[in-house]
């Protein structure tokens, strides 16, 4: 290998890693009061990375480090998602963690978890994939428990840690079996092996390895039998960290699944689509049904995020270019909507705490009464995010769902109107009914915000929160109004997923 290769396409990862350590060292040198500037430095670094990712590597494929990292359209799209989520979270944290004397560690951990997610997006080797997963997970375990005087935050961190490390162990076990079967850890090498010897993938060892991998990724994606940690963690963790977890960390499971599972499915042409269909249907129905009965808004958002994972998992049901592109667009949209919604919950928390220092259950539904009058920008943000999550046009949520449902429908019905697969059609119908159900619990919160009388004075919304919410609102509506560039980007990425 030529060691003089040009690492310029990995500049965002290098920049953020250097920045993370610089933030820690700077934190040692400056006084506690001037630590507030670290948030601005981190946000600037992330913004620079976003600009770089948008401008580079969207076409073609370049591989680094003995083919263990690749930069291609798929990796760039997901890097964009992770960077936007972490930008929103960092901007909101400037207010949330203002005057906290541990800010240096906080920003360093956010930056490192972003780097971990980006490594997963680029991983072309099981070792790189595992290391990236662990870097992102371990940083977020600590972030979830960052309010160490708050029992709920620590409990969230403990549950997240135990389930997360169990899932990593299962994933590692699955990877060890794959290595045993194929003798390589390089993902294209594994695919080649399986396409030459499909019987190896259908052997009992191959099936076992696949089950372990699906379980390991499923925990991160919070698909239904593996979802138990998600509501507890999202509810207990600080709201800004919940936004990073729900919007960013969850997509890490999807990009890993796109790289490994879809390629393997395409290579061995195994008929496991039905399994994924069942998983997706159970996930979305469970998430929506349980979300209806929640009074804690963070918990409701957590269950709605499980339901959204179910919609995105529909991409695995038909694995056509359009379905995967739909999954990617919905993942991008969900990152903006859910990230923004958790930040908006942080504003409500700020509002309730400024009324009463010792308030409990700050995200309870009753605190949302009259939010439209008390905090108009936050309420507008919630309004947009909830309608987008329910899939109302023009929004990113609508475009993503449209692509996904349409891609399955054209597999079920030929253009001349002949029904070829009734179970695919049934899946689309169930998914649309689910969307209808979800409107109920979103509309209930909107009723609280705009119809019920306010319970307190109008507050001044902090500028950092407003900026973060507005970025998410503009992104959500922007993708809905001008979907073409994003759909093209997702289509290119889908070609990589399918190995075309």
């Amino acid at each position: 290998m030529n060691l003089n290769v040009n690492f310029i396409l990995l500049a965002p990862e290098i920049l953020l890693t250097v920045l993370a350590f610089a933030v820690i060292i700077l934190g040692l040198l400056i006084t506690d009061r001037s630590k507030n500037m670290l948030g601005y430095i981190s946000a600037a670094g992330i913004l620079a990375s976003i600009v770089y990712v948008l401008g580079n590597g969207m076409t073609g494929k370049v591989s680094y480090f003995y083919d263990s990292l690749v930069v291609d359209p798929l990796s760039q799209v997901f890097k964009l998602i992770f960077l936007i989520v972490s930008l929103i979270a960092v901007i909101a944290s400037i207010e949330y963690f203002k005057n906290n004397r541990n800010q240096d560690e906080y920003y360093a951990l956010i930056l490192l978890s972003t780097v971990g997610m980006m490594v997963v997006a680029s991983a072309n080797d099981l070792i790189a994939l595992f290391v990236g997963f662990e870097l992102a997970s371990m940083s977020t375990y600590v972030l979830a428990g960052f309010e160490k005087k708050n029992p709920a935050s620590l409990e969230a961190a403990l549950k997240y840690f135990l389930i997360g490390s169990l899932s990593s162990a299962l994933m590692l076990f699955g990877m060890s079996l794959i290595y045993g079967i194929t003798g390589t850890t390089n993902i294209p090498g594994i695919i080649d092996f399986f396409s030459i010897a499909p019987f190896a993938a259908e052997s009992s060892l191959g099936v076992l390895a696949m089950i372990f991998l699906v379980a390991g990724f499923g925990f991160k994606m919070a698909l239904v039998p593996f979802h138990m940690w998600a509501p507890d963690t999202y509810e207990g963790a600080p709201s800004v960290v919940s936004s990073l977890l729900a919007a960013g960390s969850k997509k890490m499971g999807f990009v890993a699944a796109f790289r490994v599972i879809v390629l393997a499915l395409v290579a061995i042409r195994a008929d496991v689509h039905f399994t994924f269909a069942i998983l997706a249907i159970i996930t979305m129905t469970y998430g929506n049904v349980v979300a209806v009965s929640q009074r804690s808004i963070k918990r409701m958002l957590a269950y709605s995020s499980i339901a959204q994972a179910g919609y995105i998992a529909l991409a695995f049901v038909v694995t056509t270019q359009m379905s995967i592109a739909g999954g990617i667009v919905l993942a991008l949209g969900h990152a903006l909507m859910k990230g923004g919604a958790f930040i908006a919950v942080a504003v409500v928390g700020y509002m309730v705490l400024s009324d009463n220092k010792n308030a409990k259950n700050i995200d309870d539904l009753s605190n949302f009464a009259g939010l439209g009058k008390r905090a108009p920008i936050t309420a507008l943000g919630f309004f947009v995010f909830f309608l987008a999550l329910a899939g109302i046009p023009p929004s990113a949520g609508f475009i993503g769902k449209l692509l996904l449902f349409y891609s399955i429908t054209i597999e079920a019905i030929t253009p001349t109107g002949v029904l070829t697969s009734s179970w695919l059609l049934l899946i689309v119908i169930i998914a649309i009914l689910n969307s209808a159900l979800s409107i109920y619990y979103y509309a209930r919160v909107i009723k609280y915000m705009y119809v019920l009388p306010p319970v307190g004075e109008k507050i001044k919304e902090p500028a950092a929160y407003v900026t973060a919410i507005l970025i998410a609102v503009v992104g959500t509506i922007g993708i809905g109004l001008y979907p073409e560039p994003f759909i093209n980007m997702a289509m290119n990425a889908a070609n990589i997923v399918l190995g075309v």
Partner: protein, 99 residues
């Protein structure tokens, strides 16, 4: 000893780990069981590496040992913080968050 004996030992360790995670209620014991799971995978990797005749598996095992150490450190840090606040690490008592 052939490949199968190593795989058998690894499966036994894995099963002990899973059994412990299901039955134990103390945070520390569950952490120990997770270490067992990780180490059974490491044993697999090294055994397969020797069987396949390339070193990739051993490199993977080294990476995962380093990661397991970092993971244990974070786990103990969370448990210590929780113990200071609640005076317990028994998972049955850690139940503020529930639906």
């Amino acid at each position: 000893m052939g490949l199968y004996s190593y795989l058998l030992i690894s499966i036994i360790i894995f099963t002990i780990g899973v059994y412990g995670i299901i039955t134990q209620r103390s945070g520390i014991k569950i952490l120990m069981c997770i270490e067992l799971l990780l180490n059974s995978a490491n044993l697999n990797l090294v055994a397969f590496s020797s069987f396949n005749g390339n070193a990739t598996g051993q490199v993977f095992a080294l990476f995962s040992i380093a990661i397991a150490a970092a993971e244990a450190a974070i786990g103990f840090a969370i448990l210590v913080a929780l113990f200071r606040l609640r005076d317990t690490i028994n998972l049955d008592n850690i139940n503020i968050l529930r639906w």
